[in-house]
C-alpha cells in the first residue's frame, strides 16, 4: 500500500490531502499515474502481506504509525482511501475468496481507525469492485441493475460492497464497478488483451477460454485511473455507485481482428471446449457516469502493445 500526499485546497505547506491506496496493481498503478499532477511529495510505501496474519498485524501497526507521523507533520484536511487490492480472480475457489475477505475486513477496521482520526465528514472511501463479477451473464446492464453473482468471486464483490457499512457514519463511500479492465503493468497478471498481443508478437499460440462470439465490455485501466482521480480531486459529498464500462460489447472475434491488425502478425488460436466463463456481458451507455472519458479499444490496444514492446526487447 502507499500513502500519497496530495496538494491541499487551502494552499500553504501546513495542510495536505492524503490518499491511502491499497493495491498498486493494474488499476492502482493507473490511479497513481492519474494522480501524478496532484501529488505534492514522495509517496510512502508500506508492505501489507496477504498470507500471514501475524506478520500483517505488525504491518498494520506500521501503517498506523506512519499515518500518525504524517498527521503530526501536517494537517490532513481530507483523507481518501482507495481499495484496489485483490489477489483472487474470476475462477478462484471459495477458500481463497474467504482468505481475501479476512484481509479486506482487517483493512476496513484499520481504515475505520484512520477515518475516526480525521473525522468521517472529511473522508472518502473508494472501493474498486467488479461489474463483471456482479453482473456476470447479464446484458444491457445499467446503473440500477441488480447484482446477481454466479460464482464466489462475484459474491465476494457483493460482500465487499456491503462491508463498507462498518465504516464510521458520515464517510463518503464511492463504489466503482469496472467491466473487463485491460492494460499492462510490468510483473502484473496479464489479462486476455495483453496476452493475445504478446502471443501475436512472439508468434506463439494462444488458448481462448470461451468462444469467438463471447461478448465482453473492455475498459482501459487508464480511463479508470483518470476517473477515480477526478473523483478524488473533486471530493463529492455524496455516496456514489459508478458503473465504469465502455458501453460497447466486443466479441473475441473482433478483438482478435483488432490485435492482428495492430501487431501485423497472425494469432494462432485454440479454444477451450469447456468454457466456464463464456456468458455474454454488456452495459448500457446511458448507465455510465458523466465525466468518464473512454479510450477507443483500438487505441487502448495500441497503448498496451507499446508498453509490452518497452518491456520485452527481443522479438523475432
Amino acid at each position: 500500500m502507499i500513502f500519497l500526499p496530495i496538494r491541499g485546497k487551502k494552499g500553504g505547506g501546513d495542510s495536505c490531502r492524503l490518499t491511502v491506496l491499497f493495491g498498486e496493481g493494474l488499476i492502482g498503478g493507473a490511479i497513481v499515474s492519474a494522480l501524478d499532477d496532484l501529488i505534492s511529495g514522495q509517496g510512502i510505501h508500506r508492505a501489507l502481506t496477504w498470507g500471514r496474519q501475524d506478520l500483517r498485524r505488525e504491518e498494520v501497526k506500521s501503517i498506523r504509525q506512519t499515518f500518525d507521523e504524517i498527521q503530526t507533520e501536517q494537517e490532513v484536511e481530507w483523507l481518501d482511501i482507495v481499495w484496489s487490492a485483490g489477489r483472487v480472480g474470476f475462477g478462484s475457489s471459495q477458500d481463497s475468496i474467504e482468505d481475501e475477505w479476512v484481509v479486506y475486513r482487517e483493512c476496513l477496521e484499520l481504515c475505520s481507525d484512520l477515518i475516526c482520526a480525521i473525522g468521517p465528514q472529511k473522508c472518502s472511501f473508494h472501493l474498486i469492485s467488479s461489474a463483471g463479477g456482479l453482473f456476470e451473464g447479464q446484458t444491457s446492464v445499467h446503473s440500477n441493475s441488480v447484482p446477481n453473482p454466479l460464482r464466489p468471486y462475484g459474491e465476494l464483490k457483493v460482500r465487499q460492497e456491503a462491508g463498507l457499512s462498518i465504516l464510521p457514519t458520515g464517510t463518503h463511500r464511492h463504489i466503482y464497478r469496472p467491466s473487463s479492465v485491460y492494460g499492462y503493468s510490468k510483473g502484473g497478471r496479464m489479462g486476455l488483451i495483453p496476452t493475445l498481443i504478446y502471443d501475436s508478437l512472439r508468434y506463439r499460440p494462444s488458448r481462448i477460454v470461451g468462444n469467438l462470439d463471447t461478448c465482453r465490455d473492455y475498459i482501459y485501466c487508464g480511463d479508470i485511473g483518470n476517473f477515480v482521480s477526478s473523483v478524488i480531486e473533486n471530493q463529492p459529498l455524496t455516496d456514489n455507485n459508478f458503473l465504469l464500462a465502455s458501453g460497447k460489447p466486443t466479441t473475441i472475434q473482433e478483438l482478435v481482428r483488432l490485435i492482428e491488425n495492430e501487431t501485423g502478425h497472425p494469432l494462432y488460436l485454440s479454444f477451450d471446449p469447456v468454457a466456464p466463463n463464456s456468458e455474454t456481458n454488456s452495459y448500457r451507455k446511458s448507465g455510465l457516469p458523466p465525466g468518464l472519458k473512454l479510450t477507443a479499444l483500438n487505441s487502448g490496444i495500441k497503448r498496451v502493445k507499446y508498453k509490452i514492446f518497452k518491456d520485452f526487447t527481443f522479438f523475432p
Binding site: 446484458t139 444491457s140 445499467h142 462470439d213 458501453g247 472475434q253 481482428r257 454488456s282 448500457r284
Partner: protein, 332 residues
Amino acid sequence: MINISVVVPVFAGEEYLEKLADKLEKVRVYWEEGNFPIRLSEAIFVDDCSIDNSPLIIDGLEKKYGWFVALHLSRNSGQHPATIAGILHSSGDWVVSLDEDLQHPPESIEGLLRHAARYEFDVVYAEPNTMVHESRARDATSRTYKRLVEWLTGNPHIRKANSFRLIRGSIARAAASACSHDTYLDVALAWFTQRFGSLPMTLKDQRYIKKGESGYNFRSLISHARRLLVSSHLKVLRGGAFAGVIAVVMSVFGGIGLLLLKLIAPESIQVQGWTSLVLLILFFGGLLLFLVGVALEYLSFLVQKAHGRPVFFTIDRSADAELRGFFDATPQ
C-alpha cells in the same frame, strides 16, 4: 429470456424517428405484457452524420426511453458501415436491422423471428411481395443487378438481401467485425452461415413513393453496387481460367491434327501457315488466360483474407428449441 437488438442507421429521418420509436416501444410493451420469452433489449440508432435534425432527436429518444442507444459517427460513412457500427455495439441474441423511414414495420420482427426459429435460419430477410418503390424502372434495376451479381459470384443469397434483416447475434457481430471499410455486410454474412431465409411481406418505401426521394441517390447506388461486386469472390474468374485451359487443349489437339495432315496428306493444305498461326495464337492466348485466371484467384484469395473471411466459426443454436416451442404454442 432471448434478447433482441434493433439497429437503425439514421441519415435523414427527422420526420420518421419519433414514430418509429413509438412503434418499437409498442412492440416491446406487447411482448412484455404477453410474457413472451423474447424482449427488445436495445434499439441502437446510428447517426451517420445526418443532414437534418436527426442527431438531436435520437439523443432525445435515448433520454426518453431507457433502452434506446444513440451513436454518432464522426463522418458520413454510408448505410452499411453505420449498420455495422450499430451491430458492433449490440449484445442481443438476435439483431434486427431496419431503415429509419418506416418502410420496415417493427411489428414484423416477430414474424421474422418465428420464421428463423421454425426453419433454424441464421439470417432472415424481409422479402417484398410488391414493388417497394412503385417504380418499375427502380425496382427492376435493383432486382436485375442482384441477379447479375448472384450469377457472377455464385452466391445464391444475394438476391434475397434487404436492409430489413434478422440475424443471429453471434453471426451478426462476427460478420460485422470481419468487414473492412468496403465490405458488403450481406456478403460477409455468407462467410459465416449458409442458413439464409426470407419472409414475404409488404414493404413500401413511402419516402420514395410520396416525394420521389430516397436515402440513396444514383451515385450511392453505384457505390453500393460496386461494393457488392468487390466484396464477392467472383466465380467468373474460375470460368476465365477454365476457358484458357480449354483453348490450350484445343490448340494442342488442333496442332496434332495439323501435323498428321501435313504428314499423311500434305496436298490437302491449300494455304500454308494460317492454321499454324491460329493454333499458336489459340495456345498462347489460352495459356495467358489460364495464368491470368490463376493470378486473379491468388489475388482474390488475398482480398478475401484482407476482408476478414474466416476459416471457420462455431455457433450455438440450442436456444432455438425454446423459441420454437413458444411460437408453436402461440399462433400468430
